[in-house]
């Protein structure tokens, strides 16, 4: 598997002097194509900062960010914008879709921003929505979609084109558990098709959808789950009681 995202000794300090806040201390992270990684930690642990730095929305104070093997440091605002619309998709907790644009138009937006003609971009967006089981919602506006549907359209927008990296910050935070599950199913499916995914959450259920869970506390990566294991191991522990 190729490594899509790599953070090397990334640190982030907000402010300066005595009021400086260290959000991240030398955090390392590698995510391969086709892998869904959850970053889990309590609020204020620096997990959202990790995500925004990985997504080039913020610059790290120290360390390196490589996306598809290319360093993101020192890129101009325009080059970062280009990197985002070509390689990185975001899904946030809420307010993901632009009102006034239909689901198809929302999904087509990153392509159009990249210079793909309207017709081609829309055709591609419809196909992506279809792949994620949202074909019947293509013409709807965000106001007419349920919360779960909105997040699923947001995922479609995050993976449309040939995106390599999908970054999600509490994508099910505003949803009930069944809608959350539907969103996570789509997210997982997207990763199974070859995208590297990172989900940031404090929710154990949400994290358990990942192939690998990274634990972060006070800006440091403290632990990591073992690779997926079979059910027999669990049975020995008698958790079923």
């Amino acid at each position: 598997m190729t490594t899509v995202l790599e953070l090397r000794k990334v640190a982030k300090v907000y402010g300066s002097g005595p009021s400086a806040v260290h959000a991240l201390h030398a955090a390392d992270l590698r995510v391969d194509a086709g892998e869904l990684v959850a970053v889990m930690g309590p609020s204020g642990s620096g997990k959202s900062t990790l995500l925004t730095i990985a997504g080039t929305l913020e610059e790290p104070s120290e360390g390196e960010v490589l996306i598809g093997g290319v360093g993101a440091a020192g890129l101009s605002a325009n080059a970062r914008a280009q990197l985002r619309r070509r390689s990185i998709g975001f899904v946030f907790q809420d307010f993901n879709l632009l009102p006034g644009l239909s689901a198809t138009e929302n999904v087509a937006l990153p392509l159009e921003l990249d210079g793909v003609g309207r017709r081609a971009a829309h055709a591609h967006a419809v196909r992506t929505l279809d792949d994620l089981g949202l074909a019947d919602r293509a013409g709807h506006f965000p106001d007419d979609l349920s919360g779960g549907e909105r997040q699923r359209v947001a995922i479609a927008r995050a993976v449309v084109g040939d995106r390599q990296l999908l970054l999600a910050d509490e994508p099910t935070g505003a949803l009930d558990s069944m809608n959350g599950e539907a969103v996570m199913r789509i997210l997982r499916a997207a990763c199974k098709r070859g995208i590297a995914g990172v989900v940031v959450t404090h929710d154990a259920q949400l994290a358990s959808w990942a192939d690998r869970v990274i634990f972060i506390r006070d800006g440091r990566v403290v632990d990591e789950t073992a690779p997926p294991s079979g059910p027999e191991v669990l049975l020995d522990k008698d958790l079923s009681r």
Partner: protein, 190 residues
């Protein structure tokens, strides 16, 4: 989970052979609650003794017998469905005891211990979630059981989170001992 009542419930769908009953039971609960081979037949014998089921012939092998629910059995099943689960006396939770013990023991980093348990719990949850994710969407039975486990495990993770926050408020030296009243938080802070 009461295996007896689960078997009674299966029989409400119609008479069934003992072997099929076992397969049905396992497929509905997935491999979350695997049963011993003999457990189904022992339970069926007991049900028959109490007059809640009856069998076709008196053959010795439970697997080949065909069982049918009686009126008494239907009444018992209905009574059981409506009886609230025992929620008043909490089960003695092993995890709680382990953390309690670790707090008292010198030389044990309780936060490390909590994280270890958290990781293991999450790993368990990952297993169940993947089970649910890979299962066909119409396998409601599996989903119900897996959800139950997931919510239970999530509860434990959340308890660990809360415990971690509570213990972080106390200086490690002043960890409470059983029988010793917890120090006043104000004094601790001072």
């Amino acid at each position: 989970m009461s295996v007896r009542h689960a078997l009674l419930a299966l029989l409400t769908e119609g008479p069934e052979y003992g072997l099929r009953l076992r397969q049905e039971f396992e497929s509905r609960t997935g491999d979350v609650w695997p049963l011993n081979v003999g457990q189904v037949y022992t339970t069926l014998q007991r049900l028959e003794r109490e007059g809640w089921v009856e069998s076709d012939d008196a053959g010795s092998d439970g697997a080949k017998k065909r069982y049918r629910i009686t009126d008494g059995g239907a009444t018992e099943l209905d009574r059981w469905l409506r009886t609230p689960p025992d929620a008043t006396t909490p089960p003695r939770d092993e995890l709680v005891i382990k953390v309690q013990v670790a707090v008292r023991m010198p030389g044990v980093d309780v936060h490390d211990l909590i994280q270890t348990h958290r990781r293991q719990l999450i790993e368990a949850m990952q297993h169940y979630t993947h089970l649910k994710a890979d299962a066909p969407a119409d396998d409601i039975g599996l989903a119900l059981v897996v959800d139950a486990e997931l919510f239970r495990l999530e509860g434990l993770v959340r308890w660990l989170d809360a415990a971690g926050v509570r213990l972080a408020k106390l200086p490690r030296a002043a960890a409470p001992r059983p029988g010793v009243p917890a120090p006043d938080p104000a004094q601790v802070r001072a």
